[in-house]
Assembly symmetry: C2
Homo-oligomer: 257 residues x 2
């Protein structure tokens, strides 16, 4: 029986500034039927506060405690380990890391840095990792959709530095098992009672299943034809969040009856 | 018995504008003792003509026919297949590709593009590959040494696009087996009669051994402590090109005696 939904944001609830048709009422219906909701995103172009405000502007109702972001998880990891990060991250979220010492860096963190992905800064990240600094990735997503374009996400750049420095990144955010389990812990449910809904076959679906959750790929956002065949693990597919929520509610009948 | 040397350039014969001590006379000695010589490089910041001129300025004597470069191999591959490449390559070698049609590209080629490795151009490369354009790599080197700095080479960027677009690049130049065999074909020798001398444990040594050649890693250039342990295949190591040539000549005594 499904008792909670973990929901990816971009491509599932909206694309750019356009809400996916029916998404607002689907979320409202799920909440009405007492499914627990968590919103889980690797987005690293906005602060958590901005994400929350934007969702509310689009008409979604959610509380701060329901929103889990990869940058916040990465910040906590760096702080706990008392590291001084070299931040290859987006201008918009630099403020979220400004409390950490960043002079004489001994760690590297890579998010979706957009224009900051340039030869000079990637070299700096590589040189630090080559000297032994741990590499931290905000998610491992390959690409995302903005307006009608597919754009490179942080994953390929993390991969590049891993390869150059013969190292392996610690991934905070999806598809990290630890990240899914951290969100799960906030629900007091068992993993198999949770359905992750996302448009990224690797980051959302494969990651969730590897953490013991169930997964539902939606055919919106960055979904590309035949994506569902790219992983071996059994999962659901749905035309959109609307169908995914309907499915979850049909598996929750016993409880709401 | 060794009858030919394949010699990497940067890091083996020189670093930046500094000749490795003893390198000029080592090459002269090898030639005097009638070892065949081939100079094989993935360098994609200079045209073949520039590389040749620079080597001669540094005091090395070699003919054009002895010099094999990855950009030339890549150009030949594109031309044979009649492809229109999107060229993410260094400004300095764009002239070598200017005879190929590049409007409405249906292939992507990535070399060491230096400052051209920016978010916008990497996105363009990714989008083309995502739509099915073949990806071509000029070498697959992870990094190189310039002055006292290690800098990212083409390999990590090729890796990034491979990952983003779920594709696999065709590599022209080292460590491609086809490239080593093409150079070998110019010698009329058997693979095991050739020693590849290089400072890149993967691109030079592992690649050569996979093509059936023998390999000797030199501890100059970008060599890093313990690099020799990074591959499983048996190979030689030498302090520099000087010791490597002496070794080759000692294995060639029967012939020159």
């Amino acid at each position: 029986m499904l008792k909670a939904l973990f929901i990816d944001l971009s491509g599932v609830l909206y694309i750019g500034k356009q809400v996916i048709p029916g998404a607002v009422s689907a979320i409202a219906k799920a909440r009405e039927k007492q499914l627990q909701l968590r919103f889980v995103t690797n987005t690293s172009r906005k602060t958590r506060a901005q994400i929350l405000a934007d969702l509310q502007t689009l008409g979604f109702s959610l509380s701060e405690q329901e929103l889990f972001t990869a940058p916040v998880a990465a910040h906590a990891w760096l702080k706990e380990k008392k590291l001084r990060p070299y931040c290859l991250i987006h201008q918009n979220i630099k403020s979220e890391f400004s409390d950490l010492p960043q002079n004489d860096p001994n760690a590297v963190i890579i998010g979706d840095a957009e224009q900051d992905f340039c030869y000079e800064k990637l070299n700096r990240a590589f040189q630090l990792c080559q000297q032994g600094a741990p590499l931290l990735g905000i998610g491992y997503n390959r690409f995302f959709k903005l307006d009608d374009q597919l754009l490179l996400d942080a994953g390929p750049f993390i991969k590049a530095i891993e390869f150059a420095a013969s190292t392996q990144a610690v991934i905070l955010g999806k598809p990290s098992r630890d990240f899914f389990l951290q969100v799960l812990a906030s629900t007091n449910l068992q993993a198999e009672q949770v359905l992750m809904i996302g448009d990224d076959i690797y980051g959302d679906i494969e990651g969730a299943i590897n953490a013991g959750l169930r997964g539902c790929l939606v055919r919106t956002g960055k979904y590309q034809s035949a994506d569902e065949n790219k992983i071996k693990q059994s999962h659901l597919t749905a035309d959109s969040i609307v169908e995914a929520v309907d499915y979850a509610l049909s598996k929750n009948q016993n409880r709401s009856a």
